[in-house]
């Protein structure tokens, strides 16, 4: 036990004396969470729109006022003719133009039908879609108001409700993803680098000739990173709760347990990488290319898995991060208990055990 404590102490010296790794360890999670939280956002807020009103009557004015009053839109300018539409888009001043047809009120009263055209700048398709939906929602509401006194039979009014993230805050989506990336990065990359560093320096040989058992060496190497990863997970959760008002609906204990499980799976991957790489550079490249990219691209963090081609959907199943993201989204946003996520947790556990067995086996072969 004394040997183990001495070993772990030495590892902490390594970590705290290397400013670069210290920066990666603690700077990275904070920087990423703030970047993703503040800079990258799918929400729309104060989107500039232009109005082309051919009728200029009471109804159009009322609608325009409603648009202007919503916090999502800001009426940037009023244009007078069709040909101006393209000009304003080209200038990039507005993201959408609302085009009211001639005699809007009259048509509405006479034919019970009036047309408004919503033209959006779809160079950014997500935003265009959202804008169009939001304008529709405002129009629906107005229509309902008009119809209040009249009873129309057989009317189907679709009312969609976004649950678990009613305001469509993108930070809700990024926090689980960023947490996954950080834990993967810290656990797998840092351990694989720190083990290969001992190989490169020749100290690994000394350790193997010493009475320390290989398993003690490995556990001693990864133990500090389990500890640091847990601290990182706490930093991420605290930042997202207090700065971005991210809810943690479910049990914190469950969240901690699955996070530790995921950390251990990443550590096992890190050990595995260290057994196949001779230098720190190789270890870093393998960690980045072999782990980070799949985690970012195939875990469902940014791109929904259900819209991927079938082969990629199948591949995504072997990525532990995919299951971890499903689990923590469930716990944080939906507040589910273990009874709803036991399947994913079991898969993650299975993967962890598999990676651990594989890395121990690989490590033994290398000793030969």
């Amino acid at each position: 036990m004394n040997r183990f404590i001495g070993f772990v102490k030495k590892e902490f010296y390594h970590i705290f004396r290397d400013k670069r790794s210290l920066f990666i360890l603690f700077g990275m999670p904070i920087a990423q969470i703030l970047l993703f939280g503040f800079a990258i956002t799918n929400e729309i807020n104060n989107v500039d729109v232009a109005i082309l009103d051919h009728s200029k009557d009471a109804t159009t004015e009322e609608i325009i006022n409603k648009i202007a009053a919503s916090k999502y839109f800001n009426i940037n300018q009023i244009i007078e003719k069709e040909s101006d539409i393209e000009t304003v888009f080209k200038k990039g001043k507005v993201k959408a133009v609302l085009n009211f047809e001639k005699d809007f009120s009259k048509n509405l009263i006479k034919d019970h039908k009036a047309t408004i055209q919503i033209i959006t700048d779809a160079t950014d398709p997500n935003t265009a879609n959202t804008i169009s939906n939001f304008v529709n929602a405002i129009l629906q509401k107005y229509q309902k108001q008009l119809n209040e006194k009249i009873t129309i039979t057989y009317q189907i009014v679709p009312e969609s409700r976004m649950v678990y993230n009613p305001e469509l805050k993108s930070v809700y989506m990024f926090v689980p993803g960023v947490m996954t990336i950080i834990l993967m990065l810290v656990s797998a990359m840092m351990t694989s680098i720190s083990i290969t560093r001992e190989k490169e320096l020749g100290t690994m040989e000394i350790l193997l000739v010493s009475p320390l058992k290989p398993i003690q060496v490995i556990v001693g190497k990864v133990f500090p990173y389990i500890f640091l990863s847990i601290i990182n997970a706490i930093i991420i959760v605290v930042l997202s709760v207090f700065i971005f008002k991210m809810p943690v609906q479910g049990s914190l204990f469950l969240l901690a347990m699955v996070s530790i499980l995921f950390i251990i799976s990443a550590l096992a991957l890190g050990i595995l990488i260290s057994t196949i790489s001779a230098t720190q550079q190789t270890a870093m490249m393998i960690s980045l290319m072999g782990l980070m990219l799949p985690v970012i691209l195939l875990s469902g963090f940014i791109f929904p898995i259900s819209s991927m081609p079938i082969p990629l959907q199948i591949i995504s199943n072997i990525i532990p991060a995919k299951w971890f993201i499903i689990i923590i989204k469930g716990i944080m946003l939906k507040g589910v208990g273990i009874q709803f996520i036991w399947k994913e947790t079991l898969i993650l556990l299975g993967m962890t055990l598999f990676f651990m067995a594989l890395s121990v086996k690989k490590y033994k072969i290398r000793l030969e």
């Binding site: 004394n2 040997r3 404590i5 001495g6 070993f7 102490k9 030495k10 010296y13 390594h14 004396r17 290397d18 320096l201 020749g202 100290t203 040989e205 000394i206 350790l207 193997l208 000739v209 010493s210 009475p211 320390l212 058992k213 000793l367 030969e368």
Partner: protein
């Protein structure tokens, strides 16, 4: 088998697939002896040494190190030997004292013992001024001496030195050999591989490996007589060129 033999090797062989890296070598090393293990690069020195220090399992043959069998008691061997590699592997980002404490710790020394040892060692090497400085800042010669002392921290029966003097200047090499003599005088057996033929002259006995076999084994004096050579360098060249 007499008690004074701390290393006994009999027809020890290591094969990697079809390639025989070490071919049935046989030799003994006496307690307190400085045993030189010579050979060209690729002759099988390192492989042979790895089997003796318990990190590589022999294909066939028999060997006992410090009284323990390399096949069955590798863990006991590890407790009784010290090892210093050609890289003087200490941790550059740990201080002199921290390095000593760490290596003392992994060999299971008590905290009190480590403290005594560190103080004695630092005084002996004259490192008082730099005891709390990072090892990375020390000159190579100092690192080498510290590395040797660290290999001896648990008072091993045998210390294995793998090309310990690579890249250091002749004066430091000389001082280093004085340390080796001192350790041998105190009863520690020294098993050393080297490239420097002048160092071979310092050894009590020398073995020379060629292509996985021990081609010569005797005192430097006898070897020179046997091969009718002026110095060990000539002995080595005559053997290596076949």
């Amino acid at each position: 088998m007499s008690n004074s033999k701390v290393i006994q090797v009999e027809a020890l062989t290591k094969m990697f697939g079809d390639f025989t890296a070490v071919n049935a070598i046989t030799f003994d090393v006496e307690k307190g002896e400085i045993f030189g293990f010579l050979g060209a690069n690729g002759a099988g020195k390192t492989t042979a040494m790895k089997m003796l220090i318990g990190i590589s399992i022999p294909t066939s043959g028999a060997a006992k190190v410090a009284g323990f069998d390399v096949f069955t008691n590798a863990e006991d061997i590890k407790k009784n030997i010290g090892y210093m590699s050609q890289k003087f592997a200490l941790y550059d980002d740990l201080t002199v004292r921290e390095n000593i404490t760490f290596f003392g710790g992994i060999y299971g020394l008590s905290r009190k013992r480590i403290k005594e040892k560190s103080n004695a060692l630092i005084e002996e090497l004259g490192l008082e001024e730099v005891a709390n400085k990072l090892v990375g800042a020390l000159p190579l010669g100092w690192k080498q001496k510290l590395s040797f002392s660290v290999a001896l921290i648990h008072d091993p029966k045998i210390v294995f030195l793998d090309e310990p003097t690579g890249g250091v200047d002749p004066i430091t090499r000389r001082q280093f050999w004085e340390m080796i003599y001192k350790a041998a005088n105190q009863g520690t057996t020294v098993f050393v591989t080297t490239h420097y033929m002048d160092e071979a002259e310092y050894c009590d006995r020398v073995s020379i490996m060629v292509d996985g076999k021990i081609e010569a084994l005797d005192t430097p004096k006898n070897l020179k007589a046997q091969f009718n050579a002026a110095n060990m360098n000539d002995v080595f060249l005559k053997l290596a060129r076949g």
